[in-house]
Symmetry: C2
Amino acid sequence: MRIAVLGVGLIGGSVGLAARQRLGAEVAGFDPDRELLERAAQLEAIDEPAGNAAEAVVGAEVVFCAAPVTALPGVAAEALAAAGEDCAITDVGSVKRDVIAALGSESRFIGGHPLAGAETSGVENARADLFEGARWYLTPTERTGGMLYDRVQRAISEMGARPQAIEAETHDRLMAAVSHLPHVLANILVTQAATALSEEAEHLPEVGPSFRDATRVAGANPAIWGDIFAGNRQAVATEIDAVVAKLSEAADLLRSGDRDAVRAWHEQAAKRRRELIETEIAGGPLHELRVLVPNRPGIVAELALELGRGGVNIEDMALYPAPDMTSGAISLYIAGDEQAERAEKLVRLLGHDVSRAE
Amino acid sequence: MRIAVLGVGLIGGSVGLAARQRLGAEVAGFDPDRELLERAAQLEAIDEPAGNAAEAVVGAEVVFCAAPVTALPGVAAEALAAAGEDCAITDVGSVKRDVIAALGSESRFIGGHPLAGAETSGVENARADLFEGARWYLTPTERTGGMLYDRVQRAISEMGARPQAIEAETHDRLMAAVSHLPHVLANILVTQAATALSEEAEHLPEVGPSFRDATRVAGANPAIWGDIFAGNRQAVATEIDAVVAKLSEAADLLRSGDRDAVRAWHEQAAKRRRELIETEIAGGPLHELRVLVPNRPGIVAELALELGRGGVNIEDMALYPAPDMTSGAISLYIAGDEQAERAEKLVRLLGHDVSRAE
């Protein structure tokens, strides 16, 4: 099998590695950044660096376009022009609307988006197993060739991903709701706190763990997120409109002074979050263990090591230091009833107070 | 010195323990929950359980009212009626407006709010060092007696806290911005994602780490947060109004398609968050180290243990598992240039890829 990769950063490089190692494919690569292209070849993410995109796609059965979101329609169009009639062209952009608007009528083009790699970037971090277990959305249209779709789906399955077909518009809406919107709100929260700060400059508020958690992604990776916000602007703006409506309702609810209704609203949120998070974790319902600990170097190690020895994996973790950093609480998120119970026992044997957060 | 504590949960119990152990005070306590009161006495958080609030405050020099926010004005009024002329009455409520509106003209009442204990609850978790290093806001008014204010301030300083005077209204606004608002937005985000979900039921979106971080406090402790939202409803609603305005601007900005402006807006948020977080961490500027790791039991331990051995403390941590949980990234937040550099070296020696997130 012959594969072409246009754009050899983290995702393109990982596609190359996975295709070579898992599909036994021969991989041609191109990137306008010659240095990056050489590096990808050195790392054996591609077999051969090509002189241009057209050269790379010659004879390819699948072309992966892995350029930045804004460049994708252009890169994919170039691939379509140069590739043969029996070649499937797909992309890996995190927003699908523009590229489908431009190329959705092409039977050989299939939009795609692997949910992987967001935690890092650069071909140096490319890995053959980057897509192992990852959802990989594909956005076929009524014009998409069935054989070509099947070929792309099989290729990404063999790379370890879990393909799922979805309409481009639905994809963008879901991403807006669960990924892009949290980034917008984090930015707004930070701005809002900074405003409160500047108006009361003599009182620097001390921000707590809830603020830190809620704003962790504020301003993350401006190059990538600038493009994502721009590329998915319609869907994100629509989500923002919906949030504005919900916030106005919340403000009204608060102003009404209806304590029971406020509490019911709040309880509903806890229930919904649990449902959402649980759909994602494979190992059973997610439990949160709250552990009270001295906040000294090594304490996280002690806990994690003990759980590790006991075969318990920690899905997620949050630290809540006391203001002086001498003590605090650690939330450990453990999947599965049995694992959570075991974790609770192990932590207690270490002499820490532990409770289940409901 | 004689102290009275009205309400002996986590905060009241910790005040009792700290007053007994650090101030050498004799502590009388009362709680309408008789069982809780007995438990506090068993745990030696109080010297003597009183039959009612009036009995508890007899002869006290400082009375700490540690009832739920909504009960505070009533409890404090009861204490004022029963206490002597030379007794200072203070409270620990996280919202100050209502109690100051009711009692701000009393020279013996001084509103208070320690930023501690949010991570847990219950007298079982009470600790003499709960307030060590914690900011403890006091909200004196022009009517407040100077000697009494001084006495309260000295008492909480000796308990380890860092007192700071602030106007009640300013306090409530700051809390609304940096603490209450993140909780509201977390609730809204969850609701919004659930809406997207229910409309596209066949496509359960997989929520990523940004969603998990942003919504971690959604629906937390309904009993407490219902009261806080109700008690600080004016300030929180005002913050929500401001957020609505900022969100509408953000939606306009996105719809305009002005890529550079979007990027500048996003970059600004990153800068502001760093400034806010840094005001809180004592050990110097905060660095984020991104470490790529296999996501197996024990890996967090290995890292944290190594840093602990090297004398590096981890201020905050975030896990970004890959979808199949076999690998991922860990962000370690380290305060201070020198510590961060040391941490980076140690992690590299363990054989992991590590980079500074900017």
